[in-house]
Structure formats: structure tokens, C-alpha cells
Amino acid sequence: MSTLYFTEDHEWVAVDGNTATVGVTDYAQKQLGDVVFVEVPEAGKVLAKGDEAAVIESVKAASEVYAPVTGTVTEGNTDLAETPATVNDSPMDDGWFFRMSLDDASELDDLMDEAAYAAFVASLD
């Protein structure tokens, strides 16, 4: 059973033990529109919290996905290179970007839970 966290950059982080799975939220994919290109990091890439970790491009714009925590990438979702629209169709599930190890669990304290993120999104409109 994983615990879900959110960032103000509209990323979700599912933490299961020492592993964090990272993706972008439904709000993010809606704002971006049709996703046409995704570049995910390769396993072994060391990321500090806030580093640029992945790239997402829609018909409208290019954006970066940042590392929400410090750690090492264990797996990138290479399926997204072939089918970037999965980010639109299934942002919270099949559209995950990468998994990484969690160096410092206390970094999660800075993130939002689902209710706080929902309130954050509501405050944007």
C-alpha cells in the first residue's frame, strides 16, 4: 500500500517503502493539453530534490518534471516515448514517469496530501 503525496508543481509521488513513483496530476495534463512527447530519466540517474528529471511536451508547450525528492532513478516508464498520450489518458496510473529511491524520507514532509492538493488546485481557479 503506497502513500500519495503531491507537489505545487502538479506532480504526484506514490511512496511505497523506500521507493517513490512520480507522475503528473490530472490537473497538469488538462492544463498541458494533448501530450506529444515525453522523455524520462534512465535508471541510475542521481537526482537532488528540484532537479529537472523528465520532459513533457504538449501541442502547446514544453515543461519540465522535477525530482520531488532526492534519490536515484530505478526505472523510467519507457512506454511513454511511444505513446505519450498515455499521460492524458491515465495520468495517475499508466502515465507514471519514473521510480526512484528515497534518500531522505523527511523530504516528504514538505509535500501535500490529496486533500491539501485538491484545495491548492481549487485556489488556482
Binding site: D9, H10, E11, V24, A28, Q31, L32, G33, D34, V36, F37, E39, V55, I56, E57, V59, K60, A61, A62, S63, E64, V65, Y66, A81, P84
Partner: protein, 392 residues
């Protein structure tokens, strides 16, 4: 994730580097609205500030579907932010020729032409469509440039009157089914060819219709009195072939069609020859050289320009956006991408930019610097999609 949405709005600038787009939200009082504003909102459009107007960047279908629908059937665009101008006087065509390199005097009544306002140094002040409406010229100007254009016309052409039509909307109906749809309301349009222009009564309103557009498809632009605009738009949208299309898809459609966006692909630093728009320079006018910037522009025509606007196809799927540096393979920066993104019909990344003339031949390999890496790309002939205008 950084939601730095540039939208189509990045393009709404008249002078290079001068953003016309403000940070304001579309509900700001400072933004102007088109006669179709209420219709856009009722259709669920996402409104953005563009050249001082609240404009629909997309509808709920989204940019990709709107783009593909336009190529497959017909899309309806609100382009009422663009400037509509009547030029009247004893010899409006002769007068306008003093400011553009195009052959306006030979333009027959009922015909339209794409032309450029040029500057004394050969740079481009704006691109515009001009129709011979019989008693006067009808011109359509870029939204971000229209105020400057009108001042420019009035300052330099005291012998004609420049009348801005502020009480009219401009709708574009584009796509393979556009003619059948519009002919249902006004059968006479079926007889028009690409770049024909004529006054047509539609739903009881005096409209001015041109068979032209900004998508590479067959289609029409319809100037309609503001008070009749929503009824006309709703009548067109009632047709099952027609969907509303926003500025986002308008940008990807025109890029696939290889058409220039003023402020991005052409501006005061590009000459018509560099921009690969030498075809807009009238044959006789090359002899007379009586247009602004003729010395510089004709020199580019004679000796070849130092650089040229070309099409670019990046390999792989990563789009290269405007501002991306173009490098010779393994070498130095040689140019810059001026428009770039994803082509939904091409199903891949496409771009336009300037390269030295020696590298402008289709097939030439170049590299695009995207996020610090060299992305291989090739120069290709424009347009990216086959032109489908109705040439009769």
C-alpha cells in the same frame, strides 16, 4: 512540473521581442472582446489574452482534435481580432503600391492577393491580404500590428482614405467540407476559386467573402456585420461537419501549411527574399523598384540572400520550439527556429527557421540544440502538408 504554458499567445507580437501579450487574465477589463465572446464561453472555450483581445485558444475537444477535424471536415475560427480596412480614393491600388512590393494595380475586381508592408531597410512591417472590391480595396491586417499599420498607411498615403471597420467580425471556415457548408447558406460561393473575393448576402447580412485562409485547406474568410456574427457562427456550427477551432490549432495548421506568422517567422529584421516570399514581389515592380526597401530587397533577389527561411524536420519525436538554435552538424550556431512544434497531421515535430543560404537546400543535415543536446534534423521543402486550396 513547471506549467509554463506559452500557448499560442507567444506569437501575438508585432515587433520582434515586444510582447503584446500581457500577464492579465481574460476577464480583465483591459482586454477587448470579439462579437463572438459569449458564444466562445458557452462552447466551453479556454480564453487567453492575445494581441489585446480575449480569444479562444482551444475548445473542450483540444488542439489536436480541432486540428485534425479541420483537415478532415471543416473548422470554424473567430479571427475578428484581425484588422479590417477599406482603402478608398481615386487610385487606392496605385497608392498602396507605394508601401508594398506586390502588384496591386493589376489585381482584378473580385481577386485577392497576399502582400507585405515593407520598410526602407527592406524589413517587413506586416503581412496582409488585399482584395480588389471594385470601388475600394479591402485589406485584412494582423491583430497585433493593425494600429501601427493604419497609422503607417495614413501617414504615407494622404491621397486615400483608410477606414477601419470596427463594427464587423471576421470568421474563417476552413477544411475540405467548408465550401459545401457555406454554399448551403450562400450558393454563390461554390463558384469562387482560391483568392476570389466578393460581396455576398448571408442570412440577410451584407458579408464580404474571400476564398482563402491560414490553414493550407480550402476555405473562406467571411467579414460579417458584428450584429450578425453570432447568428452566422451558430448557423455554421449547426452543420454536423463543422466544429469550433481555437488559436492553438490555427497555429499548428498554419505551421504545417508553411505559412509565416508575423512577429515570429517574419518581422522588421527579415527581408521578403530571406523569408522565401520573393514570389510576392510583382514582376514589373522588380524593374521599377518603387517600393520601400527596394534597393536592399532587389539586391537580395539579384545576389541571393545571406540566409533563408526553410522547413525543418527534427528526427525522433522531440519538438524544437521557437528560439531553438540551429547548428551546422558538429559545428557552430548558424540560425534560429522561428516557429516549431508538433504537427498533428504530419504526426511528428516540425519547424521553420532561418539558415545560411548555403544550408537551405532540402535534405541538408543540421542540428537543433534542444535542452543542451544536439538533435539531428533535416531541411525540408515547405509546406509540410499538401496544399488543398481550391484553385479551380
Amino acid at each position: 512540473m513547471a506549467l509554463t504554458l506559452e500557448e499560442a499567445a507567444r506569437a501575438a507580437r508585432c515587433d520582434k521581442g515586444t510582447a503584446i501579450v500581457s500577464e492579465s487574465t481574460p476577464s480583465d477589463d483591459s482586454l477587448r472582446t470579439t462579437p463572438l465572446d459569449a458564444l466562445h464561453r458557452s462552447l466551453g472555450a479556454k480564453m487567453v489574452p492575445f494581441a489585446g483581445y480575449a480569444m479562444p485558444v482551444q475548445y473542450p475537444a483540444g488542439v489536436l482534435k480541432e486540428h485534425l477535424h479541420t483537415r478532415a471536415r471543416a473548422g470554424l475560427f473567430d479571427v475578428s481580432h484581425m484588422g479590417q480596412v477599406h482603402i478608398t480614393g481615386d487610385d487606392p491600388a496605385g497608392a498602396l503600391e507605394r508601401l508594398v512590393p506586390g502588384a496591386i494595380r493589376p489585381l482584378k475586381p473580385g481577386r485577392q492577393k497576399y502582400t507585405l508592408l515593407t520598410r526602407d531597410d527592406g524589413g517587413i512591417l506586416d503581412d496582409l491580404m488585399v482584395a480588389n472590391a471594385g470601388s475600394h480595396l479591402f485589406a485584412v491586417l494582423n491583430a497585433a500590428c493593425k494600429a501601427a499599420d493604419i497609422s503607417h498607411l495614413r501617414a504615407h498615403l494622404p491621397d486615400v482614405e483608410i477606414l477601419e471597420l470596427t463594427d464587423r467580425a471576421l470568421l474563417a471556415l476552413q477544411g475540405p467540407e467548408a465550401a459545401a457548408v457555406l454554399a448551403g447558406l450562400a450558393p454563390v460561393v461554390a463558384d469562387m476559386r482560391f483568392m476570389d473575393a466578393r460581396a455576398v448576402e448571408i442570412l440577410g447580412r451584407d458579408c464580404f467573402v474571400t476564398r482563402s485562409g491560414y490553414t493550407g485547406e480550402d476555405g473562406f474568410e467571411i467579414s460579417v456585420p458584428a450584429e450578425g456574427a453570432e447568428r452566422l457562427a451558430r448557423a455554421l456550427l449547426e452543420h454536423e461537419a463543422v466544429e469550433p477551432v481555437g488559436l492553438g490549432a490555427r497555429d499548428s495548421l498554419r505551421l504545417e501549411a508553411g505559412l509565416c506568422l508575423y512577429g515570429s517567422d517574419i518581422d522588421t529584421t527579415t527581408t521578403p527574399v530571406e523569408a522565401d516570399l520573393a514570389w510576392t514581389i510583382g514582376k514589373a515592380r522588380r524593374e521599377t523598384g518603387d517600393f520601400p526597401g527596394a534597393a536592399h530587397i532587389l539586391e537580395h533577389l539579384r545576389d541571393g540572400p545571406p540566409r533563408k527561411r526553410v522547413g525543418l524536420r527534427p528526427e525522433g519525436r522531440a519538438p524544437a520550439r521557437a528560439g531553438t538554435a540551429i547548428h551546422a552538424p558538429g559545428g557552430d550556431a548558424v540560425g534560429t527556429i522561428t516557429s516549431g512544434g508538433f504537427g498533428p497531421t504530419v504526426e511528428g515535430p516540425i519547424a521553420m527557421g532561418y539558415v545560411p543560404t548555403a544550408l537551405a537546400e532540402p535534405g541538408t543535415a543540421v542540428e537543433l540544440m534542444v535542452r543542451g543536446r544536439a538533435l539531428p534534423a533535416r531541411v525540408v521543402a515547405l509546406p509540410f502538408t499538401p496544399p488543398r486550396q481550391h484553385r479551380g
